[in-house]
């Protein structure tokens, strides 16, 4: 049994042993084993709850950063030039990341027009343009991973100008 590794498990175990000690019946091996199991289950549940809370808190923190500025940046056809809006949003994102450092992923995308492997290259070029700008703003390059999906993961399905403009993008994750 691996109770020692669990800081919450130990006090509960002591408590249960204490309770067992209070009862008039002698503690036999079987009972204590059963109790140990219960304790471990309970502590595991607690641990899971704690983890979930921690994850929720992290998600909340992440959501704050998402809310503070746009994290999707759009591009013109066959271009990787950042728009003024994107630059403004990236400055905000960069400032947030410098005060709340974490590893980020830039996913580059293209619209469906043109060939797939060329679009992979185009998606990467766009993501690199975002990365370079973030580095200029002071974000450490080692914290940024660039992955291109080319035209493989459309944000908007459909073969029209509106869908295409939504798909030529870089997502900060």
């Amino acid at each position: 049994m691996n109770i020692s590794a669990n800081k919450f498990g130990l006090p509960i175990l002591c408590l249960s042993v204490l309770l067992a000690g209070c009862s008039s019946a002698p503690v036999d091996e079987t009972t204590s084993t059963i109790e140990d199991t219960t304790v471990q289950t309970a502590s595991l549940e607690m641990e899971m709850e704690m983890e979930a809370e921690k994850a929720a808190a992290m998600a909340e923190a992440a959501a704050e950063s998402v809310n503070s500025a746009d994290t999707v940046f759009y591009f013109a056809f066959d271009k990787a030039v950042l728009s003024d809006d994107s630059r403004a949003a990236l400055i905000e994102n960069a400032q947030f990341l410098m005060s709340n450092p974490r590893a980020v992923r830039l996913e580059g995308h293209a619209d469906e027009r043109g060939t797939r492997e060329y679009n992979m290259a185009l998606g990467e070029r766009r993501a690199n343009a975002v990365k370079d700008f973030m580095i200029l703003q002071g974000v450490s390059g080692s914290m940024i991973e660039v992955v291109s999906y080319g035209e493989e993961r459309a944000a908007s399905f459909g073969s029209n100008a509106a869908a295409w403009s939504m798909n030529r993008r870089v997502e900060l994750k």
Binding site: D78, E112, R113, G114, T115, R116, E117, Y118, M120, A121, L122, E124, R125, N128, V146, V147, S148, Y149, G150, E152, R153, F157, G158, S159
Partner: protein, 438 residues
């Protein structure tokens, strides 16, 4: 049923035969459904008499497969079975006048026989109706599960005899499908016969699969899979399904292309900051960098002699095709017409370059004659991409859109013949035509 012993001139026996044939199950296309939309202006008329096995119900309608092969080439028109006055199996049983009246220029007759347990032989003859003679008599052997293969081999033989071009019906297709399931896409890498039948799934993933490429022997595929969360190049055997990850670099790992001798793989890596062409030696696992340019260099393909690579680069400002001599790494621009030429592949003649070409904002498949410099747009569909040339150089299969759905379509290199191969559901894309397989 001893149909070969009854006189086929007897109208009752014909009726009897027709009934028997109707119950032969026509194997449904598993995923791809082929629809010929445009054929040759003056197709050769061929009649394919039902090729059956005496007393045994075959699992495949061999003649229907041959008919469908010949029709799909666009060069042939077939005589409907319902119009046939008799179903001869042997040249001796043929009354040429009947077939001449039907307008048939050629007639194929044949039958399947059991050699030993499980071993079959398809014997078939091609007859010239106008000359009233047998052009050839031929037979192919296989096991029971290979009836479709035998039928395609018969098609190959007939096609080559009449057109002078080697038949490519016995080849296969690899392609990627994407289907919505519970709000997310499921990607599959499939291999089927060249007519879409007998589809087999090679890989299924919730992450994108791209760029399948055949080994020159047709026994392996190289492709890009995002299953690790990043693009990586894999190779996978078609016989054992064993697979191996070949690359795992930061950035792009894409566009694999086997060298003609099968010993090397040209591919794209962006580990140095931007996409460059590399050659991976498959035995030593060593990478050799081929290009050195800040522009996009991608989509390498080998020339048949294995001495050069053709690739797409936007080093001139727009995507164009360039040629790289492997020994010297010297680069030379090939395309000059239009502001988008990409994804090069060479037809087996070595002089017809097939590309994705943009004209007036629309993406088409086009050919460039490397000798005359003449460019020809082959397709009228839009958003055309991923052209792949049949190993005999007769047809190109490419991906296009029908409404919002991705489908495969085929066009002959002279643009005269066209057919669609839509999937029954979902998107189908990135076709790769196998080399000759035997």
């Amino acid at each position: 049923m001893a149909h070969k012993t009854v006189s086929l001139r007897n109208p009752y026996s014909v009726v009897l035969l027709s009934l028997t044939l109707i119950i032969y199950p026509l194997t449904a296309w598993s995923e791809l459904v082929i629809r010929v939309t445009q054929g040759n202006d003056q197709p050769t008329v061929v009649a394919v008499s039902p090729m059956i096995m005496s007393g045994v119900q075959l699992t495949e309608d061999v003649s229907a497969i041959v008919e469908s092969d010949l029709q799909r080439s666009g060069l042939f028109k077939t005589i409907p079975r319902a119009n046939m006055l008799a179903f001869p199996s042997e040249p001796e049983d043929v009354y040429f006048r009947d077939w001449r009246l039907l307008g048939s220029e050629y007639l194929i007759v044949g039958s399947v026989s059991l050699l030993t347990e499980g071993a079959l032989e398809l014997s078939f003859s091609l007859l010239d109706v106008n000359a009233q003679k047998t052009v050839f008599k031929h037979s192919v052997k296989g096991v029971e599960g290979q009836l479709r293969d035998l039928a395609h081999l018969a098609s190959d033989k007939v096609y080559e005899e009449i057109t002078g071009i080697r038949g490519a019906f016995s080849t296969r297709l690899a392609y990627v499908t994407a289907k919505q399931k519970d709000g997310s896409l499921v990607y599959r890498l499939n291999v089927s016969d060249s007519d879409g039948a007998r589809e087999k799934i090679m890989l299924k993933s919730s992450e994108p699969i791209m760029s399948p490429a055949w080994s020159p022997l047709g026994d392996e595929l190289a492709y890009v899979s995002f299953e690790t969360g990043r693009p990586a190049i894999f190779r996978q055997s078609l016989t054992t399904a064993a697979r191996k990850q070949l690359t795992n670099f930061r950035g792009l790992n894409g566009a694999p292309s086997w060298s003609p001798d099968g010993k090397q793989l040209a591919l794209v890596l962006s580990k140095d900051g931007n996409p460059e062409i590399y050659i991976l030696d498959l035995e030593s696992s060593k990478f050799a960098r081929m290009t050195r340019h800040f522009a996009i260099d991608t989509e390498p393909t080998w020339t048949p002699d294995g001495k050069s690579l053709l690739f797409t680069s936007d080093r001139g400002g727009t995507p164009q095709i360039y040629k790289l001599t492997v020994a010297t790494k010297a680069v030379q621009r090939i395309t000059f017409q239009g502001n988008y030429n990409a994804r090069p592949s060479l037809a087996p003649d070595g002089r017809t370059l097939v590309v994705v070409h943009r004209a007036s904002g629309v993406f088409h498949i086009a050919t460039l004659d490397l000798v005359t410099g003449r460019m020809l747009e082959l397709t009228e569909t839009r958003l055309d991409e991923s052209p792949t040339v049949a190993p005999n150089g007769a047809m190109v299969i490419y991906a296009t859109k029908q409404g919002d759905r991705g489908i495969l379509s085929a066009v002959s290199l002279d643009a005269g013949v066209k057919y669609f191969l839509p999937a029954k559901s979902g998107d189908v894309r990135e076709p790769a035509w196998s080399p000759f397989l035997r």
